[in-house]
Amino acid sequence: MNGAKPFDWRHTPGLSAYTALIFLFFYAPLLILVIYAFNSSRLVTVWAGFSFKWFVAVANNGAIRDAAFNSVVVAVVATIASTAIATAGALALERGRLRFGRGAATALIAMPLVVPEIVVAITTLIFFSGLGMHHGLINLMIAHTVFCIPFALLPIQARLRDMGGTLEEAGRDLYADEWRLFRRVTLPLLVPAISAGAIMAFVVSLDDFLISMMVSSAGSTTLPVYIYGMMRLGVTPEVNAISTILLAVSIVFVAAALLVGRRNRFA
């Protein structure tokens, strides 16, 4: 059978073109948004030349600045709190002895990923109003911490599972006590994963819209809630510009998280 091409199952005719189309579907709309953000025309759909003026308008908009400040404050607090809680939780799940309750703990921590966001939003609203707690930003920080926990936990847990227990065993053989073992062996090895988890939590908090919309009150508006309000009023070039900024921030942070998480993988 000379000349017959060997069967290559890794190549299905037409599949690469199909996949390219799907990726076009993923990214073309985002690209269109970014292009429109640089359009100098006030009419969103008429191209009138390249311009930064809508970004300048966004920078000079005090309400957007306030909302962005709120978003960052909430995200920083939620990131610190959720990463600390998630690091402890991941250590317990991967290294600890849980005679009972492992399944329950895993299920509980996955809850924020499973329950629909709208339900989380309104149950949180019910909870805070039932308690009579109306501290705008503090309520938001608590709510964001809750749903950021699983996002911070996953990379840390994966890293602990990947590296196995041999390095800790070696430390134990050298008579390190538990605390020293954690400080000198486990924690340094975990730093990239913890940073990756923290960045993920930060992005998730920064991007949250629905929960912030239901829980926030006047004066504690976050950026996505403010942008949503702008969108309801109509399509304007300013919305495109601020959306593009938020888009860029998310991409930069996620890329950073991946790079940090990948480094030291085989340390």
Binding site: L30, I85, I126, S129, D207, V235
Partner: protein
């Protein structure tokens, strides 16, 4: 690590999620059996009215009249969530298979490209489609420019645009779990099948699909659950005129001020979603055996 220390380490996570997530869920169940306070919140007495409202409306003389409008909203939400799941499966499976067939380096890049949209704000991703679909948008502009149409097509604010938005939002949730099950495929299986004269279609039907099934099942759960309660796609791309459960719940807590009904709706959504997840994990365990 000692057992005591283990429980001490896991306690903060369980307490925070228990108090601020699970407790509020039970609180919502409680609220759903109360009477609405016209100023928001709930009052006594306890009733089943919120659940009756799914099918009946209370008339002026206090008699119950059958009214299917809410039931229809729920049915449409379920229907759109199922349709989203189906379309995501059909679109996502070949992509997952394509990624599996690449070299490790290219796999990493493609996986990153699939994951990235997940981290981009859903609000912004949904808004992109408004730019494309609205009357003066890109799609109508292009069609008009090409001379195919003279008046803009009503592309926005219908079930089709909602469905498009939902598929766009949740497609990565389908590709990733299918990829992770297919990734472990043993190439020798496929080569053996080919040696036995199996066609490409037969290889797919007899080897690839059975191996992809647990991933597809996981993906279906991950797409269906958030699609059912989604708020942004129906709100922005449906124009707020065509309600789905998500917007209906939100309205009960804002403009309609009927907290018990909103709580009842979210209770039902939560029960459905949790049931889907429990059934899924049972199934997955059985398949592993």
């Amino acid at each position: 690590m000692g057992e005591k220390r283990t429980y001490l380490l896991i306690a903060p996570a369980m307490l925070v999620i228990g108090i601020f997530m699970v407790l509020p869920l039970f609180l919502a169940v409680g609220y759903s059996f109360m009477t609405a306070n016209p100023y928001g919140g709930v009052t006594a007495p306890a009733t089943f009215d919120a659940y009756l409202q799914f099918l009946y409306q209370r008339d002026f003389d206090d008699s119950l009249v059958f009214s299917p409008s809410y039931a229809l909203i729920i049915l449409r939400s379920v229907y759109l969530a199922i349709a989203t799941t189906g379309i995501c499966l059909v679109l996502g499976l070949p992509v997952a298979w394509y990624i599996v067939c690449q070299t490790p380096e290219r796999r990493r890049i493609l996986l990153f490209a699939v994951t990235l949209p997940f981290w981009i704000n859903t609000l912004i991703r949904t808004y992109c489609w408004i730019l494309i679909l609205r009357d003066e948008g890109l799609a109508n502009g292009a069609l008009r420019h090409a001379g195919i149409i003279s008046d803009p097509l009503p592309l926005l604010y219908n079930d089709g645009s909602i469905l498009l938005g939902l598929v766009y939002t949740f497609l990565p949730f389908m590709v990733l779990p299918i990829y992770s099950t297919l990734e472990r495929i043993d190439p020798r299986l496929i080569e053996a099948a080919h040696d036995l004269y199996a066609s490409r279609a037969a290889v797919f039907r007899r080897i690839v699909w059975p191996l992809a099934r647990p991933g597809a099942l996981a993906g279906a759960t991950l797409v269906f659950a958030p699609a059912l309660g989604s708020f942004l796609a129906p709100d922005l791309l449906g124009g707020g005129k065509k309600l789905l459960i998500g917007s209906l719940i939100q309205m009960q807590f804002t403009s309609s001020r009927n907290w018990p009904f909103g709580a009842a709706l979210s209770t039902v959504v939560t029960v459905v979603v949790l049931a889907v997840f429990v059934i899924r994990s049972r199934r997955a365990q059985e398949e592993r055996r």
